[in-house]
Symmetry: C2
Subunit: 310 residues, 2 copies
């Protein structure tokens, strides 16, 4: 197996591209694919200040590294979620990575700054853990990007993530969700611009990127995500991909080029008239935003014991 | 396990309905579900003349039986495809079924009437066998419905079939295909009205319907369909259904209620200006329809040897 670009011995093959690469050409290929996504979807320019949401996993650390290597001004944002050892180790890895590369890291702690953690939110509400977690992160990502004056918030959602979300959205045909699933969401009143520069990169490629560069990332899946639907959708898509390499990328990219447009209006219609949350000022369709409502519900019942039991 | 309707011992359970039925109540349930689909999608009324496309398989024979039991005027249309023993046995079963019930059967033979069979079409063209077969059947269904003066053509596509087609359409995001996937397609110049009254019925239910009524149907899958994508999509959907019963029906019904509308315009746009085929007069975007083009290509090369080798 030889590198497609330089004919040296290859270290990785990518079936959907029908190509193999040596170490250096693979790293080059990753940067090219990210650059392609940034250009194709007009995500940001060289003068923009980018805030990268980093979890300590392979995708977000690699994204932060690639954007920096491409010459963009990218700071990191780490949110401590209070999910026991998993969060502790993710934080340690993120801080070590930032320090080793001289990158600027912004930190927010859900337990210290907001008085609750995800396991408590999950046990005190009827929501699935991933739902409370997603809601909390989306709110804090947006707030940090706006408060910090960043031009854009970048997340490490990769091709596999986005294809699984798309499959979920399609299985229930929610026009609003389909209308909002796109690699760029423009800024709006109270909402930071959001981008997903890894939409052309598979999960396996991101892991390889980190391994080849000795980036020490959190390998464990979040312990609270076990059995969630999203992982089931990934399995389904992987079985399709195995039958027909490229099926997953075609599913996602043809949605962006031919499907999404048909749902664009639905995204706006469902958002409706927006007010300011009476607690935090965030945009909301009611009087209080979903984040403040969740937080109030979680912290009102009994005082939350923060941190691990040990 | 007791029948949901009469509490007698049940013979079948339907997980997605969270219900079990005895023989008679199951047969009643099937008729009710078909009636519901006919009403919901305004497929036809009591005075319409219906032509049911019958293959000799469980779905089409059961559909013909249910429509007749519901009091509709339904004749059958059988198309001999010349696929060796498979076609011979399908024809025998269809004729026996029609005779036993006193139903009127219209027959068309691809080899005798049009000079080719599906195996020859598959070997003489670059098309997959299912593609030549589908094209030929669609043309002949439409022609028979128009020539016979029927108000509507009904096919036995069930929930599993339609969900698999939808998954295929979604994996490639073809707006035109998505716009044309609906349980009713209205009549248009040169096109008969087409309906799919089994869209609420699973494959397993249709087999049970035939077994409980001693309807002798063709059990074999078509030997030329092996390994086709459609069957792969069915497997994928079955694995989703097993994780979450009802997922398949929700996928299809939510597309009909919330998704399809977003692609309606695309169906019209892609059809464009229509002419008459210079050979058979059927509507076509070019000068010759796809059916005549296929037939000419297949029969032009060498004389076609019709029938089985034995």
């Amino acid at each position: 197996m030889k590198c497609r670009r330089c004919k040296a011995p290859a270290v990785i093959d990518i079936r959907r591209h029908n190509a193999a690469f040596c170490r250096d050409c693979f790293l080059h290929h990753c940067k090219e694919q990210v650059k392609k996504a940034i250009d194709e979807f007009k995500m940001f320019g060289p003068d923009d200040n980018i805030l990268v949401a980093v979890s300590g996993g392979k995708d977000s650390l690699a994204l932060w590294h690639i954007l920096s290597e491409l010459g963009y001004r990218a700071d990191g944002l780490y949110i401590g979620l209070g999910i026991g050892d998993y969060s502790d180790e993710s934080g340690v890895r993120t801080r070590a990575f930032a320090q080793a590369h001289g990158y600027t890291l912004v930190e927010v702690s859900l337990p210290s700054d907001y008085g609750y953690d995800i396991p408590t939110a999950a046990s005190r509400t009827n929501r699935a853990p991933c739902s409370s977690c997603g809601l909390s992160k989306r709110h804090l990502f947006n707030k940090a990007a706006l408060d910090g004056g960043y031009d854009v918030l970048a997340t490490g959602h990769n091709l596999d993530d986005e294809a699984a979300v798309l499959l979920g959205n399609v299985l229930h045909w929610e026009p609003g969700y389909l209308g909002r699933q796109y690699p760029v969401l423009p800024a709006a009143d109270g909402f930071a611009k959001k981008v997903k520069p890894l939409v052309k990169m598979g999960e396996r490629e991101m892991a390889a990127y980190c391994v080849l560069l000795d980036i020490d990332y959190q390998v464990e899946e979040c312990p609270m995500a076990e059995g969630n639907r999203h992982l089931g959708y990934k399995e389904v898509l992987n079985s399709l991909e195995q039958r027909s390499p490229g099926a997953k990328a075609a599913f996602l990219s043809s949605f962006f080029s031919r499907g999404h447009d048909h749902f664009k209006d639905a995204a706006h219609v469902e958002k409706g008239e927006l007010n300011s949350c009476d607690e935090c000022g965030s945009p909301t369709t009611g009087t209080r935003c979903a984040f403040c409502a969740l937080r109030n519900r979680v912290i009102s019942e009994t005082p939350v014991s923060i941190g691990r039991k040990d």
